[in-house]
């Protein structure tokens, strides 16, 4: 008597299984497509928002700062005339200034400076004509103590170009006595047994007229 019910139930199970497989297959096939489409729409939304903000900021800026536009144009025109070799000269001057400060602080040796330009330049606001060039400046110097090292670091930072960014400071007591330290040992002054390293990002805005 229950056999027709059992057969019916088994048929229902097979039917459900087919529906589940078809629906599941369809959903799994659709899932990566809808996800791609969603990611794409998010990117387009971000771009549209960015572009709107950029142009709105420009409109607001020009509206509120009519005088500044002319001044900025002057600076932009000057930057256009500022070739890379002049920039190098500025760095040379910076090295000389640092040496002068080192003398003021009675450092045992001149600071060891290394400037390494980062080859790729970053476009600003996606504009090919305005790019930011970054160089890594590393300054190493000995000091009498932690406070002495900090004072020199502060003085050195103050003479760095306008857009410089202090990245890191490492001040460490020397663990080895070098011949230089031995030479320096004297009863009249403290030895400079502190090694200091300063990392700075020097950023410059480069303008072009292409």
């Amino acid at each position: 008597m229950l056999k027709p019910q059992i057969i019916h139930l088994k048929n229902v199970i097979v039917f459900k299984m087919v529906v589940v497989l078809l629906l599941g297959g369809f959903f799994f096939w659709m899932m990566p497509r809808t996800q791609d489409s969603l990611d794409d729409s998010k990117k387009r939304l971000e771009l549209a928002t960015y572009e709107l903000n950029a142009i709105s900021e420009k409109v607001t800026f020009v509206k509120n700062n009519s005088g500044t536009v002319a001044a900025t144009y002057g600076e932009y025109a000057a930057a256009l005339k500022n070739p890379f070799d002049v920039s190098c000269l500025e760095k040379e001057a910076l090295i000389q200034q640092l040496d002068a400060i080192a003398a003021q602080f009675h450092l045992r040796t001149q600071p060891n400076m290394e400037i390494a330009p980062i080859p790729s330049m970053e476009k600003f606001n996606n504009n090919d004509n305005v790019q930011v060039m970054t160089s890594d400046l590393t300054i190493k110097f000995p000091a009498q103590g932690f406070m002495h090292a900090l004072s020199f670091t502060k003085a050195a930072y103050n003479i760095l170009p306008t857009y410089s960014l202090l990245a890191s400071i490492d001040i460490e007591a020397s663990t080895v006595i070098t011949p230089l330290v031995l030479d320096e040992l004297s009863t009249t002054k403290k030895p400079q047994l502190i090694d200091c390293k300063l990392d700075v990002e020097i950023r410059e805005i480069k303008a072009s007229n292409s």
Binding site: M1, L2, Q5, I6, L9, K10, I13, K16, V20, L23, G24, F27, F28, M31, T34, S37, L38, S41, K42, R44, L45, A48, T49, E51, L52, I55, K58, V59, F61, V62, S66, V69, A70, T72, Y73, Y76, A79, F124, N125, N127, N129, V130, V132, M147, L150, T153, K154, Y157, T162, Y163, L166, S168, I169, D170, I171, E172, A173, R203, I205, A207
Partner: protein
């Protein structure tokens, strides 16, 4: 307004009750009638009964429509059920065998619906014997119609059961409810149901010995009914003579009747150890509700045959397999719909932003016309933006480090300071050594923690996290030096 509010509350309470309580429909297939009682938890939701000879299962449809999500239990309470007692010798075997099922297959028809219980196990000189009660009924058309109807229309068929197996539990339940002690393990249970008439079940402990269904004398006086009961009990006691003599135990008589019949039965003289009379619910003439409420709480010894077993397996497979699959499909569907809706919403937002962009572009074009001498107007503005962005003030560490070094107690020796700024957050790491003028390491450690607490109080804008490795602490004559690393971050 008030009635609307109360109906909302009632509906909410009903919904909560639906979630919390079990829902069960008990279908008593009796001698003369079929009685149905629907329960939500212990609350009876509805009852119905139809004379067995006149109905088809479909007659119940309108009543059962209200209880579609209920689990159904079929209880067979008819005179045509057969009670057999068997002593099944158990052969010890390494392979596990279902001895009772094997016995049933040998002795009964494969279509018979059978329930069994073991009431005693004896062990005589190493051979084990299971004393079993088997209750069976042929696969009647009515029973199968019900099973089929439940499978198609209700939530689930919990099983088919036989009333006599539940009689000992009902008797114990009645005694427990009224805090009465039954002094004999041999019990004669008598009650009157609308669907089967006068019911007499004789049991000894778990063993169901006899089951009698006596037609209810319709249109007869209570005294007549009293007489029928007296006669039935007397016949039962006579049939028990040998048993009583052998076990030296007289039976207890348990009656479940209404108050009117109780008054008469109290005057009756039965040849039993004791007579205990219990009342039906609401003083009903029949004990249908009382019995159904007991069986709603607990019912044991499910009966089965090959068809029912196969049917239950299929139902179980159907219920178990598809629920998680449907859930997974629903979740996938929701995720897909959510993605598609997000795409539509993003596209709408992009369209709105584009409209605003065109409007801003037009303003920008007008402003640009005010500066005809600037060729690269956009570049000039970007140049200005770059200047603003690069001149953003930087957080410098000089003041903090100066102050920190000044506030550090003299018994700290700093070895190394590292400062950096990553993602706009300043982090300073100080490697130092703390020297305490004590030879006790724990004292030195406590002193160090006090200094750290003081530093925390001074530099409230910073979180100072110490890392102390006490295994590297060095204890010399009267001095303990503890290496410490301080990680300082802006709050």
């Amino acid at each position: 307004m008030k009635s609307k509010f109360s109906s909302i509350i009632k509906k909410s309470l009903d919904s909560v009750a639906d979630l919390v309580f079990k829902h069960q429909i008990l279908i008593f297939i009796g001698e003369t009638e079929t009685y149905i009682a629907a329960y939500r938890g212990s609350k009876i939701m509805g009852t119905m009964s139809i004379t067995t000879s006149q109905y088809k299962v479909d007659d119940y449809s309108s009543f059962l429509q209200k209880y579609k999500k209920y689990t159904a239990v079929i209880i067979v309470d008819r005179s045509d059920i057969q009670i057999n007692h068997a002593a099944i010798p158990i052969a010890q075997s390494l392979i596990p065998t279902d001895h009772i099922n094997k016995f049933i297959q040998k002795t009964l028809q494969p279509t018979d619906i059978v329930a069994s219980t073991i009431f005693d196990i004896t062990n005589n000189e190493g051979s084990e014997v299971w004393h079993t009660t088997l209750i069976s009924t042929p696969e009647t058309q009515l029973l199968m119609e019900w099973a089929s109807y439940i499978a198609s229309n209700l939530a689930h068929l919990k099983g088919v059961y036989f009333f006599p197996f539940s009689a000992p539990d009902i008797v114990n339940g009645l005694a427990l409810t009224s805090k009465t002690k039954i002094n004999s393990s041999l019990k004669i249970f008598v009650t009157i149901t609308s669907y089967s008439g006068i019911r007499l079940v004789l049991c000894h402990k778990k063993k169901v010995m006899e089951n009698h269904v006596i037609p209810f004398p319709v249109n007869k006086s209570l005294e007549y009914i009293q007489g029928v009961i007296e006669q039935a009990v007397s016949d039962c006691v006579i049939s028990l003579k040998n048993y009583i003599h052998h076990n030296q135990e007289r039976p207890s008589l348990i009656l479940l009747v209404n108050k009117e019949l109780e008054a008469l039965l109290k005057q009756s003289k039965f040849d039993v150890l004791e007579t205990l009379i219990f009342h039906t619910k609401n003083n009903d003439q029949f004990s249908d509700q009382t019995i159904s409420s007991f069986l709603n709480k607990r019912i044991k010894h499910k009966a089965s045959n090959d068809d029912l077993r196969s049917f239950n397996r299929t139902v179980w497979f159907n219920a178990l397999l598809f629920k998680p699959l449907w859930l997974a499909l629903i979740l996938l569907g929701v995720k897909l719909t959510q993605n598609e809706l997000s795409v539509v919403a993003n596209n709408n937002n992009i369209s709105k932003l584009n409209i605003r962009y065109y409007s801003a572009s037009e303003k920008y074009r007008q402003q640009r016309e005010l500066y005809p001498y600037i060729d690269h107007f956009s570049s000039v503005l970007d140049f200005h933006d770059a200047q603003i962005a690069l001149t953003a003030p930087q957080k410098l560490p000089f003041d903090f480090l100066n102050q920190f070094l000044n506030k550090l107690p003299s018994n700290f020796t700093v070895h190394k300071i590292h400062w950096d700024i990553a993602s706009g957050n300043q982090t300073t790491i100080v490697d130092a050594k703390y020297v305490a003028l004590s030879s006790d390491t724990s004292f030195a450690k406590a002193a160090l923690y006090r200094v750290l607490i003081d530093l925390d109080k001074i530099f409230t804008d910073y979180s100072i996290t110490p890392t102390i490795d006490m295994s590297k602490a060095l204890s010399q004559v009267g001095r303990v030096s503890i290496p410490i690393k301080l990680t300082i971050k802006e709050r």
